[in-house]
Amino acid sequence: MPHEPRWRRYLRFHWTNATADLNDEMHDHMQSAVESLVAGGMSLDDARREARRRFGDVDRVRNEVARIDSTGARTASRTLWLEHLRQDLIYGWRQLSRAPSFAAVAAVAIALGVGLNVTIFSLLNGLLLRPLPGVNDDGLRRVYVNHHSPLDWSGLSWIREHSTLVESMVGERMTAMPVDIDGAPERVVAAFATRGFFQTLRVRMALGRAFDVDDRQRGENVVVLGNAMWRTRFNADSGVVGRTMRIADQRFTIVGVAGEDFRSSVFGWAPSFWVPLASVSAVTGSSVDDFGGSLYAIARLRSGASDAAVTAELATLASRRAAADTTRRGQFTLRLDHVRGVNAEIRTPLALASGFLLTMVVLVLLIACGNVANMQLARGAARRVEMGVRLALGASQTRLVRQLLTESLVLALVGGALGVAAAFGIVAAITRALPVLPEVSLSFSPDWTVFAYAGLLCVASTLLFGLIPALRATSPSLTGFLRETSSGRHRARARNTLVGGQVALCVLLLGVTALLTQSFVRSRAVDPGIVAAGVMDLQLDLGAKRSAADGRATYARAAEALRAVPGVRDVAFAELAPLSGSNMEMRVVPDGMTITDPSAVPKTYFNVVGGSYFSTMGIRVVRGRDFGASDMPSSNAVVVVNETAARRWWPGVDPLGKRLRFGGPDGDVLEVVGVARDAKYNSYGEDATSFVYLPLNQRYQSQMIAQVRVAPGTTVARALIQAVRSADPSLAPPTIKPLSDEIALALLPARIGAGLAGAFGAVALLLAASGIYGVISYMVAGRAREIGIRTALGATRSAIVGLVLRDGLRSVVFGTLIGLGLAIGVAVVLSHTLYGVAASSPALLLGAPGALLSIALLACWLPARRAANVDPTIAMRAE
């Protein structure tokens, strides 16, 4: 007996009427039994009874057999389905290998689309979706004040003390600390951690133990090393526990090393070591109570506590606190958030930007799918006969469509795999190109989320470019198609619509690219109000131990030494560099303003400056004077305001001599002695904002940036560092950076955005152009006969070219108009958020459609020219 494959046997189960068969079988048994009993002499009734007795419970047997049959049928159909899938995959692969040029072009198009998408998604995944490394994040939540701000210590300890649903809460604050490990002083980025930090996060320690120091307990100077620092600076010495290192000139005992996986409680941070918050007075000189105000807080909720319940409890605590503490600044809200990805303050702009980028790459993928769909439609036309025959022989359309879709899936998977490989390469290159900062730890390497996303894209692409062509190719109205030539009217319409859609999307993408580029270019052209070229920034840290008088003297000595360096034109000090991303804000109450509502007190950005700040930075003082030697701690407390501040707080009046309270209604009184020209402080695109300058000599800060203007063409970095160290040899060598580098960072997002958009636009243009070219070529090939006849009847070459162009460009023009409309809509939306973007910008209205139309013209012209050169006799015979 030849071996029948099991799946074919199952076919018989699938198509029969199982119930009728079972009934017949039972009936046959009963009848046979009755017949034979009657033949043996029994009466009919007795025979029936006896037959039934011998059989047993008929219904039970029937039910059991029916159950067995249906289970078998289910297994059979599952097996059948799998078998079909296997066949279809092989069939699809074979069909594709028979059309290698189509497969290659289609795979490349899909690879471009999927690759771009996976690249952007990998970057987003690394920033927004990943969990905190090395932390057990079950029941862990971030806590923010007023939507996305970090807490201060008193707020954190209040919640810790009074909450019942929060099991424990900790905070972390990263800052640069002066350390001495090998005998040479240096600055290392490390972090303060509140009590129970490692325990709450359940961090596994590689060595030793975590510290458990009450935040108010001074004197316990212990430190936990980060794993990376332990490896690089201590050679992974297993005896490091118990050794000491000097931090801010004090001895700190190493009690443990954090596990390899752990980085920080803040996503993306990687401080080199942690000291208890209690040591903050030893390291920085400020006390725990007036510590900065920016502890990034994480809470572990009691098991079973829901987010809603905890949020409600926090709201109650917040209002109790506001009522109890009159020095508080009015109401504040506490917010819970999950612990994946970057902090909320970065997340919102990042999420917006990434949503934007993702939309753009999805559009590119749609264009790519449009290309492949067009190619599939053309192929489908060629396979009509084969499909028609199979349909006529009884194959179901569903089965055929499944088969064609599986073929599309194979194509999508091949293209997708290529795209994913390219994406990983691009992401690796981007990661390598990013500036390496030891205190930042981000990883964009692929994980299963990225693979799942890629798989999803492949499936979606399959449906996008495969479904309609498959349906078309197998549609049951056969007879016309078996006779039809390839110039079928409604198939041409489908292809032209696709081209029109692709063109619209491409124009949209190009338009957005034009807008982003324009925004970037205009941003660069904005006058930042300072002359950044030629200024070198040196980060100085005098340490917490110095008295203000000693510190002032040190700064003065440093300024003198710096001025003495050949090539130096001017020296200034500032607490913050402009456009560096950091800013300080303070409440002010200007003279003449009556405050009725405590929450309506105006706020202003400010900076503490020294030396000849305004002349060094190239900011003009338009009224009054700069700070000078007369501004000492003993003399009148003064301030310089910018033009916007003067205009806002004392409109139409000379601000010189006016006073303001710095810090709130009870703050220090400062007298305005000068008005400086407005500049850009936080970002190039910012609106005019008030800004005040305070003199260093009246507000001593232990950490300042020395901003030194040097003559162009001089390389003085080492000399500058030497000069600073000569002022005080105990100082760690300052880090030095040109100011223009720091400012360039402010433009980085705009530059990245414009660059990416440009890349997407270029890819979209390439895809759209190749799509148009393909469709026109196909159309020309289909009309070869008609063109041959026209030529034979005397049409000139230019007339033929015109004919082809007219037909081909119609859909292109239509698509361009639609795309332009969409782009204008996007421009209107973007004009509110991006700098320098207007819906009427000529780059958008002319550039994008112009670029596309010229490329489209080229893509149409080549096949048109070929058509015109065709020998009419050959053309007419070809059909």
Binding site: D24, Q31, R60, E64
Partner: protein
Amino acid sequence: MRDRDIDLIQGTLNVLILRALTWGPANGYAIAQWARDITSGEIEIEEGALYPALHRMEQRGWIDAEWRLSPNNRRAKYYRLTTDGRRALKERVQSWERLVGALDTILTTTTRPV
């Protein structure tokens, strides 16, 4: 009935059916008759119990089914042994013989336990 009992009975039924079919195709009733005849009525099996066993073995591929018309123009389902079924029967016979041989040795040995 405990599960093991059901398995035992099912296994026995399977062997019975397979053996019955070694002489050629038969329908469910014929198999039931044969079982009744060869044991002279000693073993009374519930005839209906044959059918679940028959359908299960059909799905397993040990037997094949074919619809025929009986002399009285009734649809009758006839089962026949497949190669797989033949092999399965042979394995059963062999394991039974091994069991019998082992039992025989145990029951007729003269060696004492230590």
